[in-house]
């Protein structure tokens, strides 16, 4: 040791040999491409999805149906955890080894499209919109910052559904609320009877955003909502400020004391078991309530929903949606099969496969209403924006994504605690600087 000590460091650094790094070759610019004729695609596809359990099985059934139509294609589905999807996809795309087809939300679609990583699907959307399968409003959701389409809409969801137990409502002598006044009166009555008016799973962050979206939409209107989502107006816009005053009142009067300490599933089941009167959530609850809380609960009979009433009856109809889209990698080694699968996922055929299993809304307008297995699914599917006359926009924070989304959820938790509208607006104005740029 004594003898060699001096040179140890020198040798160590000498071993720092240069690493040969292979730099991925850049692909040339390609324009929108045509889907190959049915059954002609061949080869292998790698697909990333994030569904597990019964949803995972439903997606596999869709993939199996695709394989039947395209026997020459082999599809390998990789399931990744939902909250890690974004990071995993980013790593794979950045490393130049992306999956051929991957599930994605609008925030990441725009980020990837902005980096020229996705297959252009304008030709396909032209045909679908012309055909009446999809609307232009939905096409916008699947578009990149350049206004071109880069994704297909595969699984729909509508939000602002207030879930309740008909038995509970009857017990309290409350009718299904049709106006905002009836909505708050019902919650007041529950409170007086010792039943928690609302179930809120604020510990998981996103359930709080399920409240902001419908309130902004109902108080500020669809135009302000979409402008806020796209950074055209700031959070200090008076219409947005007013929305948060309304929300602050709701939080103060009706949110449970433990809203931030309760997780989504616990809140869901508290609502389903009659510990709380209402639970404002999405259409996906139809699958989650029986699966997570009590298998004997029957959709339509033991639990159902009404659409959150308008705050101002004079406001025009607007439906705000969320759900899952799929993108194709521009660097795919099997472009024909990738396009064939994307085209299939957007088709009425593929979507019927899952719609029959329930807990799903087909975004393709050609899927008939009678394929849905129960009343709740049919009612929710009927709310899907099928015609151009209904304004459609996407779940606000999933649309924005990235840093603003994370900080928005943090600010919402703080707002739930102190209901300080000025502080919340000031925080968001600092976080979201898009309107000023």
């Amino acid at each position: 040791m004594r003898i060699y000590g001096r040179r140890r460091l020198v040798t160590g650094f000498a071993c720092l040999v240069a690493l040969a790094l292979v730099v991925g070759a850049c692909g040339g610019g390609e324009e929108a491409s045509k889907t190959p004729p049915a059954g002609e695609a061949s080869g292998e596809l790698r697909v990333v999805s994030n569904w597990t359990g019964s949803e995972g099985e439903a997606f596999q059934a869709v993939i199996d149906a695709f394989k039947q139509k395209n026997p020459k294609v082999t599809v390998k589905v990789e399931q990744v955890p939902f909250d890690q999807t974004q990071a995993l996809l980013t790593q794979q795309f950045a490393a130049g080894s992306p999956p051929d087809v991957a599930v994605a939300l609008p925030g990441i679609i725009r980020t990837f499209a902005g980096q020229d990583l996705l297959l252009n699907l304008d030709a396909q959307w032209d045909a679908w919109v012309k055909d009446g399968a999809y609307t232009d409003a939905l096409r916008q959701i699947a578009s990149g910052p350049d206004g071109k389409a880069y994704a297909v809409y595969f699984k729909g969801n509508v939000n602002a559904l207030v879930w309740y137990s008909p038995e509970q409502l009857q017990k309290l002598g409350i009718g299904v609320p049709k106006t905002w006044a009836e909505f708050t009166a019902a919650m007041d009555k529950a409170k007086a009877e010792g039943v928690a008016p609302l179930a809120v799973g604020g510990k998981d962050g996103w359930p709080l955003t399920q409240w902001t979206d419908p309130v902004i939409l109902r108080v500020a209107g669809a135009e302000a909502f979409n402008d806020l989502a796209r950074g055209k107006i700031g959070w200090d816009d008076p219409r947005i400020v007013k929305s948060f005053q309304v929300l602050g009142d709701l939080v103060g009067k009706y949110f449970p004391a433990q809203a931030l300490g309760t997780g989504f599933i616990d809140a869901t089941c508290a609502g389903a078991k009659g510990k709380a009167l209402f639970d404002n959530q999405g259409a996906f609850m139809n699958l989650i309530i029986p699966a997570e809380c009590d298998k004997s609960l029957k959709p339509g009979k033991d639990f159902t929903f009404f659409l959150m009433p308008k705050y101002d009856a004079a406001m025009p109809d607007a439906q705000f949606v969320s759900g899952d889209l799929f993108v194709g990698a521009k660097d795919t080694k099997n472009k024909p099969a990738t396009l064939a699968l994307l085209d299939y996922l957007a088709s009425a055929d593929a979507q019927e496969v899952w719609a029959k299993r329930g807990g799903y809304i087909a975004p393709n307008a050609k899927v008939p209403a009678d394929v849905y297995p129960d009343e709740n699914d049919r009612k929710a599917a009927a709310l899907w924006p099928r015609t151009a006359s209904v304004a459609a926009g996407y779940d606000l924070d999933d649309w924005i994504g990235g840093e603003i989304q994370v900080k928005y959820r943090q600010a919402l938790a703080q707002f739930t605690r102190d209901r300080d509208v000025d502080k919340f607006i000031a925080t968001m104005t600092k976080v979201d600087t898009r309107a000023k740029d």
């Binding site: 720092l16 795309f93 925030g107 980096q115 300490g261 943090q410 938790a413």
Partner: protein, 351 residues
Amino acid sequence: MASRPTTTVAPAPREAAPPGRRQEPRRRARRLERFAPYLFVAPLLAVFAVFYLWPALVTVLSSFFRWGLLRPWSPVEPDRWRFVGLDNYTTTLTDPSFWNAVLNTAIWLVVFPVLVVAFSLLVSILIWHTTRAGTVLRTVFILPMTISLAAAGVIWSFVYNADPQIGVLNAVLDRLGILDADWRLGPLELHPGAWLSNPGVLHLGVADVRLTNLVLIVPAFWAFTGFGVITITAGLTAVPYELVEAAKVDGANAWQTARRILVPALRRPLVVVGVVSVIFALRTFDIVYVMTGGGPAQDTMVLALLLWQQAFAFLDTPQGGQATAIAVLMSAVLIAGSYPYLRQLIAGRSR
């Protein structure tokens, strides 16, 4: 060359060179003798260089550039570099989110090691005293170590669950009739039952210390104490029992025996447990990620989680450089903090 017997670690004895040889080969042999050991450790050094030194170097370098996960900084693509100098450091050091995370991490750094060292010392001495139940007790404290930290977080989330029908702690509070109470004791604000949402705040004027962090430290402590118990009980076996007996004969009570004989004899293992738990506390991530995700708001955001968010969640506003800047700052603190331990370790080796 092959015929010459070589020794690896220990210096080859000078006498090994047979006497009476000519001057030339002897010098060559001596040179070889000096050089050979490097050859043997070279593979290890190469592994160290490629997997430890190189990433560390790239991390430090990349903290001076602006980049995100989607276009990672690469040392071999200078045409894509966006050099920003010390910007990542100044942005980080002026960001209130960073200082909030520093405060929360500081709570971990102070509370966690103290809890671990104090508790495992106490338990180890008790185990050492009890001859029969020793093995059983040791097993009880070591068992949680077999559980991954993420799993420990999930388990404790049940314990802390707000619903008294699920969470055991709130079931007790419910029985006592103090669930959802609101207490104020001077600068201290307490909300029993709101374990993970807002159990309490200590208002210190300059900063609010969120007690939620303490709630998260408990599961980490639960899972980690086994390490302290193993290390200290191992140290205790080396304490000569005659010393303790002699102290007893001299009339020393239990406290005096522990204070004057056991603790000085246990200095080494105590330093090891202390330093390792400091490192553990500084890099804490999994428990927080699983139990609160840094929330509510940023109440439990720690540095490791903040840098993870900047690197992996903020894709639209690339902050990889800021994330590595935090990593570099953390490493600097960690190296400075563990220096006494490292020095002792190195000193111990050469003795």
